[in-house]
């Protein structure tokens, strides 16, 4: 019954994946939270969890919640592998929005035979993370013992790429607001016993050691650049939202006041790029910085117009020094 995902009913699979997803730090998942995530009543969640316990997939402690057994984890990992590989395909190759891809993957994951999923894996070039930066379990059910570390393990001066946040949601959404999104580059500036000072694209952010323990990063070195995971594994250029500026290209946010440069490329979502392009931010255009305080929004002058841009928006505009490769970069 438990040795092949094909035999398990779809709802069992959904339960297992959600328990795995919601489990943090090995704590049991409260039943109410599980029920909400599956959009079912707590009563039916209760019944199902007892049934799953009988099958040896979970351990259910009333009033505390459910935790997953090693066997259950194996089952969930297989479904998760299917889900995340489909996500890579749907987002990368079919250019779907992530939310849409996630929903579609939820349906495909139950209908995909092992053989097909291995072919899909090969077709995609064995990606290691999904478009959100979550790791894709191996066919054995094991999560890749990737070069992921927690942020707290990095040393001062070391560079890395943010992968994901496993802490509580308030902390995670705060970090997202600070520009820390999957694939974002970060530098550790100073490390103390209490906290770490990070440089995220020119902005300094202090992170407590406790929070740093919940943040997974890929340290610089032999590890795979997360931006490349997407562009290489998928033959098409991956959808724009994962086009994070590379460390080598300078972004508009680093341009000093009074300095001029030439726009090289735009990153970010389609709507964002199209809006900027209409305002005259096209590759090859000269751009002058009017105000840049190293934090907060900037003001630039493009085609005789002053435009205010949020710092995160400015980080999506790649520039090169004036006068080089003039006007021919894209042609």
């Amino acid at each position: 019954m438990t040795d092949s995902t094909g035999v398990l009913s779809e709802s069992v699979q959904m339960y297992m994946v959600n328990i795995l997803r919601l489990a943090k730090h090995g704590q049991p998942v409260p039943l109410s939270q599980l029920a909400a995530s599956l959009d079912v009543s707590p009563i039916s969640a209760n019944q199902m969890c007892r049934k799953l316990q009988d099958e040896g997939l979970v351990i259910y402690v009333p009033y505390k919640g459910v935790s997953i057994t090693p066997v259950g984890e194996q089952v969930a990992m297989r479904v998760l592998r299917r889900h995340r590989l489909w996500e890579v395909f749907l987002v990368g190759n079919l250019r779907m929005e992530w939310a849409e891809a996630h929903e579609t993957a939820c349906r495909l994951e139950h209908a995909t035979p092992d053989e097909v999923i291995e072919r899909l894996d090969a077709f995609l070039g064995h990606p290691r993370v999904n478009p959100q930066g979550d790791p894709i379990p191996a066919a054995t059910g094991a999560l890749p013992a990737a070069a992921t570390r927690t942020l707290a393990e990095l040393e001062a001066g070391q560079r890395g790429w943010y992968l994901r946040c496993t802490g509580d949601e308030a902390a995670c959404s705060f970090l997202a607001g600070q520009g820390l999104r999957p694939g974002a580059e970060l530098h550790v500036v100073v490390v103390s016993s209490e906290s770490l000072l990070l440089d995220i694209a020119g902005q300094n952010v202090a992170v407590s050691r406790a929070a740093a323990n919940t943040i997974q990063v890929e340290p610089d070195g032999r590890s795979v650049d997360p931006a490349q995971v997407h562009t290489q594994s998928v033959e098409e250029p991956a959808p724009d939202r994962f086009h994070q500026p590379q460390s080598t290209g300078s972004t508009l946010s680093t341009l000093g006041v009074g300095q001029s440069a030439v726009i090289e490329d735009l990153h970010g979502g389609h709507g964002f790029r199209s809006r900027l392009a209409a305002l005259g931010f096209t590759p090859g255009t000269a751009i002058t910085m009017v105000r840049n305080l190293r934090r907060g929004p900037i003001i630039v002058s493009v085609r005789d117009t002053r435009i205010a841009l949020g710092r995160q928006e400015a980080q999506q505009v790649l520039i090169r020094p004036e006068g080089r490769d003039h006007d021919n970069a894209k042609q």
Binding site: G271, I299, G310
Partner: protein, 665 residues
């Protein structure tokens, strides 16, 4: 091109934001404007008429947009109107001093079926900057009529109308130079065009649809996916995937075309001097001075509003409202007492209270209109961006919130400038916490009655409101409306001298909508309050209203408020300024001085403070709730807003009373 039979010409006005399009529109239509919404959209639609020679022009003001992609409802509205409604002429208003960016919209308008006339506005500003543009060369280059204009001085308007007639009558040659796509994408475009088959909706130009598909236009792409057979669609999809960056290529192509126009028509380029705008912005967008200037402008606005508005208000109250009440009393002397009571106490006092603080609102709206027209407001938004981020919003949300100091209704409507749904909803939810002039008027009336330092109390209450607003914003953002980052992209227009006409029209429109509210809702309710306070025995103490208020008195006890204050609070749901009018009715006097004395004997200072805190934070007025429902398109959010503020205000009141009664003893 069709020649209209009845000598009526339908003209659509298009243009990017901040190019003086509304000035042109106001100049043409004057007071004949009709302001409404586009069907099914929360996008403002302005229309109006004007006559020239024996012709009538029906003008429609399209929303200001930078392009015609499907990125915003405004852009969709504009292009759908041009394609489906087929105006006789589209007038593209351009800012001559930023011609390059402005011609982008023209490059999008030209491929559409309606003939285009270019109104080259702000030629005076361009000249000041050392730019020399030759309109007739631009005309030859574009292949469409170009009319130079200085809308702020009314120059060039007649020429514009004459050229519109010429085009409609076909007396001038109309041969537009339509921009072509960059050479490296030409064959791709042709491939897509060939694959489109019969799926082009009527009236849509084929090449244009193909171009939009290549650009990644969401609306048209979805439409085609529905219509095309799967095999053809997958071919198109393949092409699109190989040309992911086509949206940049198409935009670059348009700008290359624009570059050629500019090189032809701009006789002398900009001299590179530091403009006045640069000089002013050095201060206005400075991280410290910018904030100081914003605070100064805010403070100055309030000072002007109340210092000039309050004496005027007293004059109106003393002479007009009082005289009306006395006159009505004399005229109705022979009628039964209840008629006199209804007219004098119910109607004249209720509406009089509203009309009397009309000057305050007029001054505030005029000052704000001036700031908008001068071009300062976007600087304020820029400076405030840092702080708005705490609430998960960005600078643009500051604009509607600022408007809320005048009246919350335009604030809720003003959230339309915010692109993201989530940020818009959040701004709508916190907007009623901005104390409007109506609430400040209540404070201005009551604070001097109870406190020796009324100014301090008023500023304190204002600060409390803003603090609660910020905390609510952070709370709602962190707990309920978590969401994605919203892109902050905003143009900082050039400063220019304010145009009294534009300011007058904006102020007038806002005041008229306010008066309409005062004339209907508030009149009705002050009559209802009077009736409820009279029935069944003719005196207040035993009236229905009193009984209802007494029913709620146990809750009021926690805030030190008796039933009359509770009824006053309830009536402020109709309109904030009603609180005073109701107190007037309940305490049986229309005389403000006497009312103050009566209130002082009825309330302890702690209770008065609690009352002020509650009424400042209280549920939004009916008109605001209506606006919230209209803008969010859901009763649910309107109810959420009411419940949220009910809880916040009552908590605030109880807390204030309990703390203040201990401190003040």
């Amino acid at each position: 091109m069709t020649t209209p039979s009845s000598k009526r010409i339908r003209v659509a006005l298009a243009g990017q934001p901040n190019v003086g399009k509304s000035t042109v529109f106001n100049l043409l239509t004057g007071l004949s404007q009709h302001v409404g919404n586009w069907p099914g959209k929360t996008v403002e639609q302005k229309s109006g008429t004007c006559s020239y020679r024996e012709w009538t022009f029906d003008l429609i003001d399209l929303p200001g947009t930078y392009s015609l992609s499907a990125n915003s409802p405004e852009e969709l509205v504009s292009r759908d109107y041009i394609i489906r409604e087929k105006p006789d002429v589209v007038v593209a208003v351009l800012d001559a001093s930023a011609l390059e960016r402005n011609l982008y919209l023209v490059s999008e308008l030209l491929p559409l079926p309606a003939p285009v006339i270019v109104a080259l506005n702000m030629v005076d500003v361009a000249e000041q900057q050392g730019l020399k543009i030759e309109p007739h060369v631009l005309e030859a280059a574009l292949g469409v009529p170009v009319v130079p204009l200085i809308a702020t001085k009314g120059r060039g308007i007649h020429e514009l109308l004459a050229r519109i007639q010429d085009v409609v009558c076909g007396t001038v040659e109309y041969r537009p130079n339509i921009p072509s796509i960059r050479a490296d994408h030409q064959s791709v475009l042709e491939q897509i065009e060939a694959l489109l088959g019969d799926c082009i909706p009527a009236d849509y130009p084929r090449t244009w649809v193909a171009l939009k598909i290549l650009e990644g236009d969401k609306q048209l792409t979805a439409m085609l996916r529905e219509c095309l057979p799967a095999s053809q669609w997958s071919q198109i999809n393949n092409i699109l995937r190989q040309h992911e960056d086509a949206c940049l290529a198409v935009a670059s192509g348009r700008y290359e075309w624009i570059g050629r126009m500019i090189r032809a028509a701009v006789f002398k380029p900009r001299s590179g001097q530091i403009t006045l705008t640069d000089q002013l912005d050095r201060w206005a967008t400075h991280p410290f001075w910018g904030l100081a200037i914003l605070a100064g402008i805010l403070g100055g606005t309030f000072w002007l509003t109340y210092a000039v508005g309050m004496p005027l208000q007293r004059l109106i109250d003393r002479y007009i409202v009082h005289t009306a009440a006395v006159l009505a009393g004399h005229t109705l002397a022979s009628t039964p007492t209840w008629v006199t009571g209804l007219v004098v106490n119910g109607m004249i006092n209720g509406v009089g209270m509203v009309v009397s603080f009309f000057p305050i609102l007029a001054i505030f709206f005029a000052v704000l209109g001036t700031l908008e027209d001068v071009g300062y407001m976007s600087r304020g938004a820029y400076v405030m961006d840092r702080f708005m981020h705490w609430m998960g919003l960005h600078g643009k949300s500051f604009l509607p919130l600022f408007l809320g100091f005048g009246c919350n209704v335009p604030a809720v409507m003003g959230t339309r400038v915010i692109e993201s749904e989530r940020a818009r909803l959040l701004t709508i939810l916190i907007a009623p916490l901005v104390p409007c002039t109506a609430r400040m008027a209540v404070v201005a009336f009551l604070a001097p009655a109870f406190f020796s330092a009324p100014a301090l109390v008023s500023w304190g209450l204002l600060a409390v409101n803003l603090l609660v607003l910020a905390l609510s914003g952070v709370l709602i953002n962190k707990v309920f409306l978590k969401g994605e980052h919203v892109a902050f992209i905003m143009e900082l227009p050039l400063y220019h001298l304010p145009s009294p006409r534009t300011i007058g029209l904006i102020t007038g429109q806002r005041l008229v909508s306010f008066l309409r509210k005062a004339g209907t809702v508030i009149l009705t309710v002050s009559v209802i309050v009077w009736v409820l306070s009279t029935l069944p025995h003719g005196d207040i103490e035993s009236s229905l209203l009193a009984n209802f208020g007494r029913l709620l008195e146990p809750f009021g006890k926690w805030m030190g408020l008796d039933w009359r204050m509770i009824v006053a609070l309830l009536s402020s749901f109709v309109a904030k300024e009603n609180a005073i009018a109701t107190l007037g009715v309940l305490f049986g006097t229309a005389n403000q001085v006497r009312l103050t004395t009566l209130l002082r004997s009825a309330l302890t200072p702690a209770a008065a403070l609690a009352f002020l805190v509650v009424q400042m934070l209280f549920i939004p007025c009916v008109a605001t709730v209506g606006a919230i429902k209209q803008e969010t398109n859901s009763w649910r959010w309107a109810m959420v807003s009411v419940l949220f503020l009910l809880v916040v205000s009552l908590l605030g009141g109880v807390l204030t009373y309990q703390v203040a009664s201990r401190l003040l003893h």
